[in-house]
């Protein structure tokens, strides 16, 4: 019965070639932890992706309650933490997940670096990976402000000062970043938009490139 349903859908949509490209390939022995225990270091990339997925999900749930304006942002985060069912967990996951993504990604990068997996023909995938890393740091920087508490405000004002110190274009970068001369209402909506629209879009595109390249080139062979 299931087979008939599958065939019926496959005839119309051609799922098989897509599925083959995504999932039906052999994974070499040197990344199989069953053959060599130390091969577990190859799972850091997958774990990073898993935590990114939890970040997206918890962020979506936080967005159901969060209000990005300076009068309500703080209270809405407080409301999520204290009142919403499992809100404390959702916020906790999003907060700690930010650190965990960076830790996993850092470990993944170190693995790739130390095994020299960025060498030809995989240079472009390394470049995309470093860009993902940059996007993640920017996620951290913009997400930090959203609760609109003291910590957020002052850490961001330091960030704005740093941007301001760039020669020639510093003032423009700062204005672009915080939406004016001083940290305020404009900054919060701007950071929110960057955090939930611009950066996720960039991240998803980069991740797609990352994964397509892994499938095209395969995992780097044993050393």
């Amino acid at each position: 019965m299931l087979k008939r349903i599958y065939d019926w859908i496959d005839e119309r949509l051609g799922v098989t070639p897509i599925w083959r490209d995504i999932a039906d390939h052999e994974v070499p022995a040197h990344v199989n932890p069953a053959t060599k225990m130390s091969a577990f270091i190859y799972c850091f990339g997958g774990l990073t992706f898993l935590i990114i997925v939890t970040q997206i999900l918890s962020g979506m749930f936080l967005a159901m309650y969060y209000v990005p304006d300076i009068h309500n942002a703080y209270s809405s985060v407080k409301y999520i933490t204290d009142q919403v069912l499992l809100g404390k967990i959702a916020r906790g996951m999003h907060f700690w997940g930010a650190s965990l993504v960076l830790i996993m990604m850092f470990l993944h990068m170190l693995r790739v670096f130390f095994t020299g997996a960025y060498k030809a023909p995989r240079e472009l995938n390394w470049v995309v990976g470093v860009l993902i890393f940059a996007v993640m740091l920017f996620f951290g920087f913009t997400g930090y402000l959203l609760p609109w508490d003291q910590k957020a405000y002052w850490a961001t004002s330091v960030g704005a000062q740093i941007a301001d110190s760039v020669p020639f274009i510093g003032g423009s970068i700062k204005a672009l970043l915080i939406g004016g001369n001083a940290l305020g209402a404009m900054t919060l909506t701007r950071f929110f938009a960057i955090h939930v629209f611009f950066l996720p879009a960039a991240l998803l595109i980069l991740l797609a490139l990352h994964f397509v390249m892994i499938r095209k080139q395969g995992i780097a062979g044993p050393m």
Partner: protein, 265 residues
């Protein structure tokens, strides 16, 4: 990535029949390899959830642009950058804010073109050494930043009080410095040691000994005698308490130790 039509398909599913001549240890991505990743993921996820449950996230008081008492500190993963800036004051600021980070980022981005030899063994590449040095340097910078932050907090009891007042009461950012009510368990608050403690150590351990950044010290006299307490203060307490705390005068340390040794309730 192209579909290989020479291989035979398993009927009813999109998968190919496996090639039995593949080397030992080679396995299909789906479901074998993915299952292993999934198990690892499940373990990490379970650990993550437990961590989240036991480490709830607090809010500091609401943002208040007029409050200059707050000591800004970025998240831990920016600390090394933040610390780096401190070494380039004034006119060379640009080196710390732009030059060093930009060069490091470009170097990281261009690694495949900086390390172009074929050899991939970590022991045979200069890149390995440079990365180890960079990582150690980053960890060291992060630690320096943390110690500096705790010293700053200790020197500024008001900022500390604000931080620890936290979101338990929404103070609107202005009334956050209200101290906690003194606990009844404090002994002999007229002792000269108590006064010194209040001016220096209280920044971390709380004026009522209930602890803040540092651990709580209520009833510390039951655990250590005067001599031992004096030794602890003199040596400091890793990782956060520097030698002597914020005290330098051995006489004052003696007085504080004497007073702390009386806290037996």
């Amino acid at each position: 990535m192209s579909a290989d039509n020479s291989r035979e398909r398993i009927p009813g599913v999109p998968r190919f029949k496996r090639d039995k001549t593949l080397p030992l240890g080679t396995e299909p991505f789906f479901p074998n390899f993915l299952l292993k990743e999934w198990i690892m993921g499940a373990v990490v996820l379970a650990g993550f959830i437990i961590w989240v449950i036991y480490n709830p996230v607090d809010l500091t008081p609401r943002a208040n642009p007029d409050d200059s008492n707050f000591i800004p500190v970025p998240d831990w993963y920016f600390l090394f950058l933040y610390q780096l800036l401190k070494y380039f004051p004034g006119s060379v600021e640009v080196v710390g804010t732009v030059a060093v980070p930009l060069v490091s980022f470009l170097a990281l981005l261009l690694v495949p073109w900086l390390d172009i030899k074929k050899n991939r063994r970590p022991g045979k590449r200069l890149a390995t050494l440079s990365m180890v040095v960079a990582v150690v340097f980053m960890i060291w910078l992060t630690r320096e930043a943390q110690v500096a932050y705790h010293m700053e907090l200790a020197a500024n009891p008001q900022a500390l009080a604000e931080l620890t007042a936290g979101a338990s009461k929404d103070t609107g950012g202005s009334g956050g410095s209200s101290g906690k009510a003194a606990a009844g368990a404090l002994v002999n608050t007229n002792d000269p040691g108590a006064k010194i403690f209040g001016q220096t150590c209280a920044g971390c351990h709380g004026a009522d000994l209930k602890g803040a950044v540092g651990p709580k010290l209520l009833g510390i006299g039951k655990k250590f005698d005067e001599a031992k307490l004096e030794a602890i203060i003199k040596k400091g307490f890793p990782p956060n308490m520097p030698a002597g705390g914020t005290l330098t005068d051995p006489n004052q340390i003696k007085q504080v130790a004497h007073w702390l040794s009386q806290q037996k309730q």
